[in-house]
């Protein structure tokens, strides 16, 4: 399974459901994910994400969420989306914190078995976290 996410070509099979309600932020993060070979499905809010997940046309290998709310509320929204998507509950969930001070920069906080809150300092941090979580998830999946 490890091979699935190593090469650019193979990474294309890995799908990230990216929920983003900020028009400023969406294009850059989407471009980053695509440049690393992931298939990206975009939703503008929780409801849209649930609709997209429920129609059964996507199977997300990872949920990446940025909503203008405190991390606990975004995690709760992520759990509802994960449940609606009928993906297994081990699908990694990454929440991008949107307001924090410089002391938190660069930290990835484990917020539950498969849940993470990332306090972004740069793009490499997000790339490494997503790559690691996908590697672990896809390796562990049957």
């Amino acid at each position: 399974m490890r091979e699935m996410i190593e090469g650019r070509e193979n990474k294309g099979r890995v799908t990230i459901l990216y929920v983003e309600d900020d028009d400023d932020t969406r294009p850059g993060i989407k471009r980053l994910l695509i440049s690393h070979g992931y298939r990206v499905v975009i939703a503008g809010n929780e409801e849209e994400a649930q609709e997209r997940a429920q129609d059964g046309r996507i199977h997300a290998d990872l949920l990446l969420i940025d909503l203008g709310m405190p991390p606990a509320d975004v995690l709760a929204a992520g759990h509802r989306i994960r449940h609606a998507a009928l993906t297994d509950d081990k699908t990694p969930l990454v929440v991008m914190a949107f307001k924090y001070n410089s002391e938190m920069e660069g930290q990835d906080v484990h917020a539950g078995h498969h849940d993470w809150v990332t306090y972004l300092e740069n793009a490499e941090q997000l790339e490494l976290l997503i790559d690691r979580l996908l590697r672990e998830h896809l390796t562990a999946s049957p």
């Binding site: 850059g28 471009r31 949107f98 924090y100 740069n122 997000l126």
Partner: protein, 238 residues
């Protein structure tokens, strides 16, 4: 006035003053260190001093009731902070803080106003500067509404680069996000775009400009419009 009485400064307004005017101001100009994030003018507080930065950069920010901030103006060695006092208001709804640390000279408000009210070269120079600052503020408002965060970041980096020594800018994503009024992840995404194009390099807390011409080509029209206004105000001195 003998040359040695001129406090050393790189501020373009002070450097441009005729000797007789500068001689009257010089005894009152106080060298100051301007530290990163230091607030020099609090919103709604009376302006106690005008600040003439050298290579320090001052951001003028608008603060909303929920704490959200966005930069509405920037002052570097081409200008002076506290200009609302020149126009008859002793305070401003905006806050001015140090974006890039450095040094500068400051002078008590009433002392500069005394010289300003004499008319002549200093008044003319400061009013031309205020006019260019108004152009900058209005262009920034339009830019924040109409242009992408990548274009705004490019414009903002160029404006910062113009006002500092060298190509390394000590800027965190947090600070840039506050200045551009966007989310942290938005800055991350925009920085990736500029880095991918080869215009900048980002490492923790530092942005290095590596292709200035490319960045100018990428930035929205706002950068050149504002720069032209400042060049005009300063008689194309740089």
């Amino acid at each position: 006035m003998s040359a040695h009485l001129r406090p050393p400064t790189e501020n373009l307004i002070l450097k441009s003053l005729p000797s007789d005017i500068y001689a009257r101001l010089a005894p009152h100009l106080e060298p100051v260190a301007l530290e990163s994030s230091q607030i020099i003018h609090k919103a709604h507080d009376p302006v106690s001093h005008f600040y003439f930065p050298d290579y320090a950069i001052i951001s003028v920010v608008s603060i909303m009731s929920d704490g959200a901030t966005v930069e509405v103006g920037v002052v570097g060695r081409e200008g002076v902070s506290g200009t609302n006092a020149l126009l008859g208001h002793d305070s401003s709804p905006n806050q001015s803080l140090i974006q890039v640390p450095g040094s500068g000279l400051r002078i008590k408000t009433h002392l500069l106003l005394t010289e300003f009210n004499r008319g002549g070269v200093l008044q003319n120079m400061l009013l031309r500067y205020v006019n260019s600052l108004i152009a900058q503020v209005s262009q920034t408002a339009a830019c924040n509404r109409l242009h992408t965060v990548e274009e705004r970041l490019a414009r903002w980096l160029l404006m910062t680069h113009d006002r500092t020594h060298g190509d390394e800018l000590p800027l965190t994503h947090e600070f840039i996000a506050q200045m551009l009024g966007t989310r942290r992840a938005g800055v991350t995404g925009a920085a990736i775009a500029l880095q991918t194009e080869g215009f900048i390099r980002y490492s923790r807390g530092n942005i290095t400009i590596i292709d200035r011409a490319g960045l100018e080509g990428f930035a929205c029209e706002c950068y050149k419009i504002v720069k032209k206004e400042f060049d005009r105000a300063l008689g194309n001195r740089n």
